[in-house]
Subunit: 356 residues, 2 copies
DNA sequence: ATGAAAGCGCTAACAA
DNA sequence: TTGTTAGCGCTTTCAT
């Protein structure tokens, strides 16, 4: 119960002009209170602009705050109060897809009262299923006022804070979510190849447990069917949205006795992998093989040749997520919007098949 | 002092199989302790794998944890203990530059014990000077074990956690920092223009209070001088690394009675602005005007025509920052590395001046 | 092997 | 107008 708990050396600092640091390198509200000779609650009131503090006291406290370089601890205050004015965005990792989204989210949040905290906590030893539940639970309710979860793979439990999910990969009982038209985008990509004159069009799949992958495959199949092209099952190859598997897939596909003239990969990462493998096979792109991806990540524009793809309007999707979340936070009713349109971005990896 | 503080409804849940939720939507260590009929300290020991708990107790506690979906609160535990295993990256905002860096940082952190938290807290009403100090103070010492600060503009105070700064824009007393060769990059960009045959080369400056801007201008001036080209001061125009000012600058420059045939902008954002203005002036790029930027942000590759620029190896710089920070965290001595090389990326906005 | 109790830095009733 | 007090959820001695 003795009040001399910490940093006794700063007891009479107001007269000495030199800036004061706490021994631990960080001033606490207690330090401020002691130096200013007021109670911690008074300091708290000043810091939070509450009514009922004498002007002279306010001035004194502010002076000490400046002297000590005091800044309220996010952690401590968030533990006690409900509002933190921080929006959390939870991602499995910071790859191009999340980064694009983050860009749109950040831009939309500018000028509002909210700060943005992006958290990637995929590093659990048990693999990464359920990262979203863990992260949300660890941050939710205290640190952040609301969350945007990117490509969650499992159901999000009803959490203590409002949640919006972007491009959820399960079909299930998600909270309010934002999605691209996976089916339509795949249909568009495949049709583009068809219109160029391709008939032997292969597909490298996405992760089997994710609904987006299924929808993209369905779009692909439907486009072929509508064009009256029979689907050869050996041209539909396993993949999982990652580089490794796509490299394998591309090898298998190109080693076929009668290889495809075009490949539609379920995402850009896979398409880029196929592009690389095609090069190793001595194939010229797009003369010998057309390749198209899905997502339009930044790297797609920078490959040689630049990758044709289908774009998810990630920027707009992020922006929309923010608007919905702010609505939720303001206590409004919000509804999931329809699917965002996927648009064809033809670059240099698609062309008519070489009839030579 | 009564132990029945919260969630009394989950008192006899072990027999009922259905999953239990707390009334507030989030189970706490107290809920677990009560349901498992042990003390909170025992639960804490189990969660953190401390010695001295009976196997049977461990099993029971784990079972309850699963039932309740309990997850330790980052906020609460970080308030009490020193280690959080979270690295913080502090940015003014999530723009392309920081995002690129984040990408490299994230990749390097993968597989380590650390999670990554990126925080953008520029939204203070007083403008954004000093955001780095505030953010660091708010998160440091408790939430994060170490920090990487991107383009800090003021001196970083000795903080309670290890700090690495990337591309600090002051020349001053920074903590360990990572930097690109601003001078050399600017020299390279200007030389590129010179070699193409340009003589009337304009420069749109960066923010005057930032050292990087001065170095880039010096590189520009030195390259001209070394080439024996006299500098016309009216061709060196104010800018501040932002779109707005660059638009103004480009207008002024192109409205000159004897306009430049080439522009070296202090960063890509400014160059892209110039590109846009040149279009409005009816100029063909690169026939009528060459433009080169600095940074190589993703948007640079996607403009029409794609922007020639000088690249900062942001990925490597981020990776290096992580390595140094991990070293610091492990108690090792680390030194600031030399400047990272800036490399010329000629794209389609630079060409020999049109002699027509 | 287990639990009681103190306290991390802060906010918010409530008293004075 | 100011201070006292009781926690937020957790970790950590220190008893038992």
């Amino acid at each position: 119960m003795t009040p001399e708990t910490s940093n006794p050396e700063m007891a009479q600092t107001l007269q000495g002009r030199k800036p004061v640091e706490t021994s631990t390198g960080r001033a606490t509200i207690n330090d401020v209170a002691r130096v200013a000779k007021v109670s911690v609650s008074t300091v708290s009131k000043v810091v939070n602009g509450r009514y009922g503090v004498a002007p002279a006291t306010i001035a004194k406290v502010h002076q000490v705050i400046n002297e000590l370089g005091y800044e309220t601890s996010l952690v401590a205050s968030s533990l006690r109060s409900t509002r933190t004015n921080i929006i959390g965005i939870l991602v499995a990792e910071f790859e191009p897809f999340s980064l694009e989204l983050l860009n749109g989210i950040s831009a939309t949040l500018r000028g509002t009262q909210y700060d943005l905290m992006a958290y990637a906590g995929n590093l659990s030893p048990e693999g990464h299923a359920g990262w979203e539940r863990r992260s949300l639970s660890r941050l939710g309710g205290t640190l952040i006022d609301g969350a945007i979860i990117v490509t969650p793979t499992v159901e999000i439990p009803h959490s203590s804070v409002p949640v919006i999910s972007i491009d959820p990969h399960t079909g299930a009982d998600m909270p309010i979510s934002i999605d691209v038209d996976n089916y339509g985008g795949a249909y568009t990509a495949t049709s583009h190849l068809l219109e160029l004159g391709h008939r032997r069009i292969a597909h490298i799949r996405g992760r089997e447990d994710l609904q987006s992958a299924h929808l993209r495959e369905q779009g692909y199949r439907q486009a072929l069917e509508d064009a009256g092209v029979e689907i050869e099952e050996q041209l539909v190859h396993h993949g999982d949205y990652q580089h490794e598997a796509a490299v394998l897939a591309a090898h298998d596909l190109l080693d076929l006795p009668h290889p495809p003239t075009a490949i539609f990969a379920a995402n850009d990462l896979s398409a880029l992998a196929a592009l690389q493998v095609a090069g190793e096979h001595g194939l010229r792109i797009p003369e010998d093989l057309s390749i198209i991806g899905f997502d339009d990540i930044p790297a797609a524009a920078q490959s040689t040749p630049p990758l044709s793809t289908v774009r998810q309007p990630l920027h707009e999707m992020g922006a929309h997520a923010v608007k919905m979340l702010l609505g939720l936070l303001a206590g409004e009713e919000v509804e999931s919007p329809g699917e965002f349109p996927a648009v064809l971005v033809p670059r240099k990896t698609t062309a008519a098949p070489d009839r030579g």
